[in-house]
Symmetry: C2
Subunit: 156 residues, 2 copies
């Protein structure tokens, strides 16, 4: 599970770097098929991941306003800050007691930690797949999505 988090964080970092080549207008332009713009999609995966991990920790949900993080530099800072907090929690038991049930404030449901961890990983990879289509629509090469090697492969 930890290696999936390392993977999604590395890919996210590379997408944040990738954004440097496009204008602020392109970054914020609404697009078809994802949560919104390229920058908003990156914000969304960071925010959703952070919310679920906070729920696992039994912490209250914290609404993060996109308006405060709608530049590449601010979003990078948010990404680094959230990741640092999650990494700390990794050492303190994020992956322990996976069958423990977690109540989430935004739903009348409880899930196991294990279900939530799977959900967060799938959620991230899914939205990054959307970014890759938009990149090609902009005639730009997307960040590699490969888990193995993080380079080109015959069997991609």
């Amino acid at each position: 599970m930890q290696s999936f988090f390392e993977y999604i964080w590395q890919v996210r970092e590379e997408w944040l770097e990738w954004c440097r080549q496009i204008s602020r207008e392109e970054m914020l332009k609404p697009r078809t098929g994802g949560p919104g713009s390229i920058l908003y999609t990156l914000f969304h995966v960071i925010e959703v991941e952070y919310s679920w991990i906070r729920a696992i920790q039994g912490k209250e949900d914290e609404v993060i306003p996109f308006e405060q993080y709608d530049t590449l530099e601010q979003l990078k800072k948010l990404s680094n800050d959230c990741r640092a907090e999650i990494m700390e929690f990794m050492e303190e038991g994020l992956f322990a007691n996976k069958d423990e049930r977690v109540n989430v404030s935004w739903e009348n449901q409880s899930y196991t930690k294990d279900e939530i961890l799977h959900h967060v990983i799938a959620h991230d990879i899914h939205h990054i797949g959307q970014l890759s289509v938009w990149a090609r629509e902009l005639e730009l090469k997307p960040v590699s999505a490969h888990f193995i090697g993080r380079t080109e492969h015959g069997k991609s």
Copy 2:
């Protein structure tokens, strides 16, 4: 790991069903940003998954020609057949000895079983994310990508 496979197979099944609402022409139309058409993308995730799992089994790589599976019914059959074979192998040790190294015929590299399993899962979810953009471009609702509940959520 097994629950990720169950998730990607369920989502794939739902996408194959989803395809019933679009014409054969739309299914096979080349699109920007993924491996090709909607049908080819579904073929691609099935084929790549199957190839990597065969490599883990120490079996020779088998080239599956898309031309033989370019209808929805044929592709469903391929999907079912490959899945049945992988499920059988699940019971016979797919997830055992995860640090075992695997040589793959299409690369001058070896990977651990664990790396390959992660790769296959990320590969699938990534391409399914691409399908979801194309669905919206066709003004159709995509299959839900949620791992949890497989229905709509506040924190999607």
